[in-house]
Each structure stands twice: as structure tokens, then as C-alpha cells.
Amino acid sequence: MSPGGLSPFVAAIALLATPAVATTVVSPGPERVSVTIYRDPDRSGGGTLDLRWLAGFALVTETRTVTIPAGESELRFEGVAEGIVPVSAIVTGLPGGVVQKNRDARQLSAAALVDGSLGRRVTIRRTNPETGRVVEEPAVIRAGPDLGVILETKAGFEALGCSGLPEKLVYDQLPPGLSSRPTLSVTTRSPAAATVKVSLSYLSSGFDWSANYVARVAPDGRTLDLFAWLTLANGNGESFPAADTQAVAGTLNRTRDDGARDDGPDPQLRLQCWPMDSTRSAAESMTPVPPPPPPPPPPAPAPQMAAPDVVVTAARFQAVQEELGDLKLYRVPERVTIAANSQKQIALVQKTGVPFERLYTATVSAELGDAQSKPTAILLRTKNVVARQLGVPLPSGRVALFEQAAARDILVGEGQLRDTAVGEDVEIAAGVSEQVRIALTDPGADPRERLMTLTNANPFPVKVEVLIRTSPERPMERPSVRLDTKNGLRLWAAPVPANGSATLRYRLKPNG
């Protein structure tokens, strides 16, 4: 938010950039800002944030106080996020309304200086490498910047950077219409001079958030504590101090064409010369090292997400959920600073003593016999209802499951939770069991008969759910145990005793 105000350099550009409008008012930064962060709509299953490439976005709403003169003026907004989607900008609160909104992407660069000075007087400055004597000469730029720069001096025509001498161009003034970075401005026509509060809101890329769940199973193995972090990340070079902060869960529709990348490539300055082959080795002679581009380039932006700064806020500080249409909005209860290139975590969900059921699951085909036994997947199942100490919307995210053993927490499973509404089942993956296994065999006497065996090497009884796929041509007949139906598949829900086994016999309907 560049709190120090404008440097004279930027102010000069601002004035030069708008020859048509009488007055330019620069708003250097907001007084109050609200940031609502939305997730990457394509990262549906949760997933982790890639801090170098944050594909979510944010709605930034800023309040700024500006003093506008009577008549037409141009109001330039500085300190906006660099990922701004310019076409989404909304400006309200101007007494004269908005005549037009502009976003200018012509940036001041070495190439833009040459381009804008084409046909104008500049000065060529050569430094004698031995004596250090500086010779200046007026020149006119005759060609550039794409294929090299050609200058006309009183001696004739010369190419810049081809002689091997240190030489550079010096400009008297900046070409009009160049700014130090893409700038959003609005033109307004005020009936009278006034100091007003203006609200600017826009969508910006380069933000994202995720929910990360930690489930801890209680020592008795019957309940778990569910905790979730709301992890916010800002990949913009702009910080948002003391921001009202929200995060929105759910999937929003976005269109690909957001206008953010309409600028096209920036012009490049390439000091190309004529062929420079020599009679010596090519490697040595092919090095007409071009001198550095004449003007000092604008300061490079801070490298993206260099060494992200992780801030963990105390967990007693929890996001408050409210409804936003068909989405869920989480409000951070106090204003926080969303620093540039950083991530921040606050508590999203804290639930304790959630009763759950431990299940072993497998999905098999009814037809294929495979004598080799296979491990089963472990699942903790509960229901997202108040009666089970839950009953809150659970945004999708990764789940890490811990159990206690040997007086420490041990990670026993990692899975994903989809967006789970109140009343839905919650299933947390808890790893794979090699102790509880399933095998499907062909007992031999009747080629149509199958035997499914569950074995349990644990010293405690387990519940296993086996989903059996059948082909409509060959349904299962005469199962030895009563089967249920789930998701259109046959379900064998079997209790297996400690260090014991359970079996299911059935026949397949003959072919044809």
C-alpha cells in the first residue's frame, strides 16, 4: 500500500500520462480494506496450496478518501493488488459518477523509452574505456526497439551497441502515457470540489485458501476430535494491513475470459547487430556483448513467494461461519494483516468427542476369482449432525488422522474430505489394513459357485463392508448371507470375530 505516498518520479509520470484530462488525483492507498478469498474452483478435492502458483482469487473492497476538484478529473488508484482483474473493478461514492474506467498497461521500460522516442532527439554518451573521457553527441533515434536501434548523428547513421565501446542513450523527457506499472483510473465529472469516501472493489488473482483437517482419535478409540485450519495465502506483492478478512467455501462458476491477460506481451529491447563472425574461433568472436540497456530499468518486483512467511495465529481465534447464498462464508473475527507473499492460518472448525464407527471396506467383482487375499481399507465413519457433536458445514480439504500409541501421536491415515453439508455422512480414510483381508475363491465342485472369505488377524472384532459389483448378465444367486444394496451394488456387511473369519457363498447365474 506504499504508505509513504508518491515518489516525485511517479507523480511526474502521472502528470505526463494524461495530457487530455486537466487534473489528476492520485489515491496512494486505501484506509480500510476487506479481502474475501475464494478457492481455486478446479482444486475440488481439497489438495494443498501451491504457494508459487495460487490459482484462487479474492474480492478486495477498499475504502479510500479522495479530494476531487470541480469539473473533469482523473482519479488514479495506486496500491491495488497486481493480480487485479481490471474489468471487474467497481467504483462507488463519487458525486459525479464514473464517466469511464481505464486500465493502462503501457509500462515504462527500456524498450518503451526507445519506442516512444522514435524520431526524437536524444543524447548518445560514449565513454572512452582507457581515458574515461565522456563524449556526448545529439542523435535522433531512427529505428528500434524490436530489431536493434539505429541512431542518426551529424556524422551519419550508426547502430547502438555494435562498436564494442561503452555507449548509452540519455533521454531528456519521458514519452507520454507510460506508467511504472499497470494503472487503474477512473474519469469523473464532479459538480463541485469535494472530499469524499470512495469504495473500490475488484477481483484479483493470486490468492487461495484451503481447509486442512486434523482428526485425533481419543485413547478409548470411540470418539475423535476434529480440528481444521483455514489456510489463507496471498501471492501478490501487495500487503493488506488490518483487513476485514473472509473466506468463501463452495464452488463458484468462473469464466476463462477474465480480461486480466489482455495486455499482450511487453515490448522488448534487443540490441541486435550485423553478423559478427571473425576468422578466429566462433565461440570467442561471437560475443558482441551488448552494453546494458540505456536507462536504468524500473526496480524489479519482489520475487514471487520467495521464502513464504508462515504466520500461525492462536487457535482460540476461530472463523465465524455465515450463509452467503448457496456458499458458506467464513469471517475472521478480528482484522488481520494479509502480508504480501505469505500465508496465514486460523481455526476453521473445532469439534471434540465426535463418536465414530471404524469400518474396513473393499469393493470386489462378483465374477473374478482371485485366490490371493487382498488388504482392506480402513474408514472412520460418522454423520455430520449435532447429535454426533458435528452439524456444521465442512469445506473440502485434506484430512490427517492421528492415533495415540507409545505416548505420542502417530499419523495413521491421510485422505480427503469433499464439501460436506449438514446431515451427510463423513468418512475419513484411515489407511490400509493388512490384518483384515479379503479373498474370492472358486471352491471347485461347481464352476458357478464362489466363496468370499474375510480374515481378521486382529485381537479384536471388526466390521467389514464389502461392495460387490455384478454384471446385469450374471447376477448373484442364493447368497449364504443376507445382502443389502448400496449405490446400486450388493453390500455384504459382515462382523468378523477377533482372530477369526467370515464367509459368503453364492452362485452366478449361468451365461446366456
Binding site: A20, L59, V87, S88, Q100, K101, N102, R103, D104, A105, R106, G116, L118, G119, R120, P129, E130, V140, A143, G144, G148, V149, I150, E152, T153, A155, G156, E158, A159, C162, G164, L165, P176, L203, V248, L252, N253, T255, D257, G259, D262, G264, Q272, W274, P275, M276, S278, T279, E322, G325, D326, R418, D419, A421, G423, E424, E473, T485, N487, G488
Partner: protein
């Protein structure tokens, strides 16, 4: 001595900078195309003369250029794009004499010599007096000074017209051409009030200019339509099911706007400068309190099971008609939808694209997925009832975690694949057969509850 001619050259140099344009009007079409009309005052001698036109779009389509003026006949038009570069300059100097300036690396003293360029193939071969040398063969600094640049090399692609004028004098000449690089679309901001069932919509015209040229103080007219393209020929593969977003019923009303044949015209009220690499937005629509409602839709692509419930689409429905709608024809663009949160601040809830929509159209835009309203289709049973006849029983479970009752428009698609002999044998709620391939139920789901719907289909596959 040569300094004077250089200064005399300065006017043409100034003309290369902004300012050569005259009275500019720009007509901009949607599909990245604009017609530029530029009326310039040019001084013409009597008889034949060659006129250069700097400051035209750098992306100009030269074949579309025309020039009109009083007592002017066009002899020929040229578009020269042989660009001046150090490489070209040296190539064109073959056989000519250049000045080389050597700087002694020890003393810093300069020596000047005349040299003839013999060849520029890989390296530059020079003849200096009786010696033959390769330029900068020793790597030491050597400046090369050329006397002139070839006439046909230019700093920028340049349009020139040779005209025959009946009389001498300054007069207006209208230059017109087409150029890509400028386009426009609409951007809409819609603030939806769900309780009141209303939306406030502001429409903005968004211009983008990537031509490399600034059009100063231009009279600007936007045309909603694409004069270039006939619709794409029908693809042979079946089109994917329509995604919620766009026109449900095309309108039949005419908007009170200027038009040209079938295209609506949107003139900007005042002249504006369209700067290079600029995105400009100008308001064209501001409507408060148009009727709007939210709906839920879910489409099952074919007779298949979803193992997990999936969110229904949240769809915003409104009309562009004069009665209770936005009351205007809507140019194609993006609609961004906002809703107020508990504190009254507008929050973004999704966006979608709309096509050019005639006034009176019914529009339905998917804004996102409903967190709390979900559907889960399951194939309960599938059996063969004939040689090419199958019976499939579907069960749809619709859940609603919101406190209020909702209605979900559930569509089962993929019922036949062009055979038109699919029959709905039974269903627990009467459906509307939209087409032979799809059927639609309006399923009421109670607040914090669920509804189960079953249907049995007889299909060829």
C-alpha cells in the same frame, strides 16, 4: 555540415510520434475487429505525389485501405514493411563506402578511415585502402558510420498512397481501413437480493486496444455483432449438453437503441482517447430492481451411478424484457453476480458468460455449485428384457441441508442415442419429456430433508 539536413528531417520525425491523426472515428465489432476512419488535412501539390500516412494501426489490414478526398485520384497504395535494422543497414551497404572509427585500447586515441563493404555473410568483410579485413576481427572496438539509410527501409510499417491531384492545396482526405487488435465486450455487475427476488444490474462496455497505436479523441461506435463470420458448420459429433448459462428462451422485443440492420449500435456519448494497451470501460446500462430468482438444477448425463452426492447447480434466472426485466438487448459478455453478506457488504458469488441476448429473453446463469443441495443418482437395477431391450431402474436421492424447502430441476439425459425409442415405464413423480433424449422433473425437497425419486426406463442399450 550534415547537421542542417538532420534538423530539416525533424518534421517527418515528429510526424512519426502521436499527432499525425486527424478527426478519427472508430467502429468496433465484437470479434477483435475495428473500422477506423481518419480524416486528415493534407497539403497536396498539383499532379502526382506520394503521401505517407504514419500513425495508422500497426496491425492494419492494408488491403482494406481506402482514401477519399476532393479532386484526388489514387494511383497506387503501398504498404512497406521492410524494417530498418542494423543488420539490414549493413547488408544494404555492400559495395558502398562507410566510415570506421577505431579506438586505440592503449591510448584511447581515435582514428578514422574510409572502408568499402565487400560482403556481409556471417562476418563483415571490408576493404580499407589496399587491405582486406574482417570487421572487429580482433575484438577491439570499431564504430561504423553510414552516410545514409536506404530509402525503402523504415522504422515502422508504413502506409503510403500515390495520388494524382487536380489542384494544389490543403484539403480533407478520409482514410479508412480495418484493423484487428481492437475489440469490445460487455461486463455486467449484478447485485442479487435473494429475499426480495430482485437484481440491480450495471452494464459496462469494455474496449481493449492492442494495436500498438493510440487513437486520440476518437468518435467511437460499438456494433453488437460479428460481420465476419457465418456460424460454424454443424459439428458431426453430438453437441455436449447445454451448460446452464445463457438464453433459455430467445426474446422477441426490440430495444430502444440505434441499430444497423440486425446489429445494435452502441455509440459512446463523447469522444474518447483509446490508448494503446488500454482497457477502457464505459457504462451503458443501469437497472435497479429487476425481477430475478434463484433455481437449482442438476443434470445426470446418462443412466449411471454417482457414488457420492454431487452439488446441484445454483442458477440465477432473470429476463431482459421490458416488463419486469432489464428492458434492453444485452451484448455478449460476462455477468458477475454479487450478494450482500450478513454485514451488508457485497460479496462475489460467481460469474458466467451470456451471448448477445435480444430484449425479452429469459436468461439462466449458473453461478456456482450449491453447498447444501445435492443429488445422488443410483442405478438400482438393470436387466435385459429382449434382444435389444433393457430395463433400468434409477433412484435419485436429493438432499437439502438448508432450512427452507427448495425445488430442484432434475434432468436425466442420455436416454437414447438417436434411436428415439426410449420409454419411461414408471416414475414416482410425473416428468416433462424435454426431448427424446432427456426428461425433467421438478422435485420439491423439504428444508433439512430429502426426497427420493425413482424411475424405470426401457432403452435399446
Amino acid at each position: 555540415m550534415r547537421w542542417l539536413p538532420l534538423l530539416l528531417l525533424a518534421p517527418s520525425a515528429a510526424a512519426l510520434a502521436q499527432g499525425a491523426q486527424g478527426d478519427v472515428s472508430v467502429t468496433i465489432y465484437n470479434d477483435d475487429l475495428a473500422l477506423v476512419q481518419d480524416v486528415r488535412q493534407i497539403a497536396l501539390p498539383a499532379g502526382r505525389s506520394r503521401q505517407e500516412f504514419p500513425d495508422v494501426s500497426a496491425m492494419i489490414r492494408p488491403e482494406t485501405v481506402s482514401l477519399n478526398g476532393q479532386d484526388i485520384g489514387i494511383v497506387e497504395q503501398n504498404f512497406d514493411y521492410d524494417l530498418l535494422s542494423p543488420d539490414k543497414l549493413m547488408e544494404k551497404a555492400v559495395g558502398q563506402v562507410v566510415t570506421i572509427v577505431r579506438t586505440n585500447p592503449g591510448s584511447g586515441a581515435e582514428t578514422r578511415e574510409q572502408a568499402r563493404v565487400l560482403a556481409v555473410n556471417g562476418g563483415v568483410v571490408l576493404q580499407i585502402g589496399q587491405r582486406i579485413e574482417v570487421l572487429r576481427d580482433d575484438g577491439l572496438p570499431v564504430r561504423v558510420i553510414f552516410d545514409k539509410v536506404p530509402d525503402n527501409l523504415r522504422a515502422r510499417p508504413t502506409l503510403s498512397v500515390t495520388v494524382e491531384s487536380a489542384r494544389a492545396g490543403t484539403r480533407a482526405a478520409a482514410l479508412s481501413y480495418l484493423t484487428p487488435g481492437i475489440g469490445w465486450k460487455a461486463d455486467y455487475v449484478a447485485l442479487f437480493d435473494e429475499k426480495a427476488g430482485r437484481i440491480d444490474v450495471q452494464g459496462w462496455i469494455t474496449l481493449t486496444n492492442r494495436t500498438g497505436t493510440t487513437f486520440a479523441n476518437a468518435g467511437t461506435l460499438l456494433v453488437a455483432g460479428s460481420p465476419q463470420g457465418a456460424p460454424q458448420p454443424q459439428r458431426w459429433i453430438p453437441a455436449p449438453p447445454p451448460r446452464p448459462g445463457g438464453i433459455r428462451n430467445a426474446g422477441t422485443q426490440s430495444a430502444p437503441r440505434e441499430r444497423l440492420g440486425d446489429y445494435y449500435l452502441y455509440p459512446l456519448k463523447e469522444r474518447t482517447t483509446i490508448a494503446d494497451r488500454q482497457t477502457k470501460q464505459v457504462s451503458f446500462l443501469d437497472v435497479s430492481g429487476a425481477a430475478a430468482r434463484k433455481a437449482y438444477e442438476y443434470r445426470v448425463g446418462w443412466l449411471a451411478t454417482n457414488e457420492e452426492p454431487q452439488s446441484a447447480d445454483t442458477v440465477l434466472k432473470f429476463s431482459s424484457s421490458a416488463e419486469g426485466g432489464l428492458g434492453d438487448a444485452l451484448p455478449a459478455g460476462t455477468v458477475r453476480v454479487y450478494m450482500r453478506d450478513a454485514r451488508g457488504s457485497p460479496q462475489f458469488i460467481g460469474e458466467n458468460a451470456i451471448p448477445h441476448s435480444p430484449m425479452g429473453s429469459e436468461l439462466a446463469l449458473k453461478t456456482g455449485d450449491a453447498f447444501d443441495v445435492k443429488a445422488k443418482p443410483v442405478v438400482e437395477a438393470r436387466e435385459r428384457i429382449g434382444t435389444s431391450r433393457w430395463r433400468t431402474t434409477m433412484r435419485y436421492t436429493l438432499t437439502n441441508a438448508r432450512p427452507d424447502a427448495v425445488t430442484v430441476d432434475l434432468v436425466q439425459g442420455g436416454l437414447d442415442w438417436g434411436w428415439s425409442d426410449t420409454r419411461i415405464a414408471s416414475e414416482s413423480l410425473k416428468s416433462e419429456r424435454q426431448a427424446s433424449d432427456a426428461t425433467l422433473w421438478h422435485v420439491p425437497v423439504p428444508g433439512n430433508g430429502e426426497t427420493t425419486l425413482t424411475a424405470t426406463f426401457e432403452t435399446r442399450y
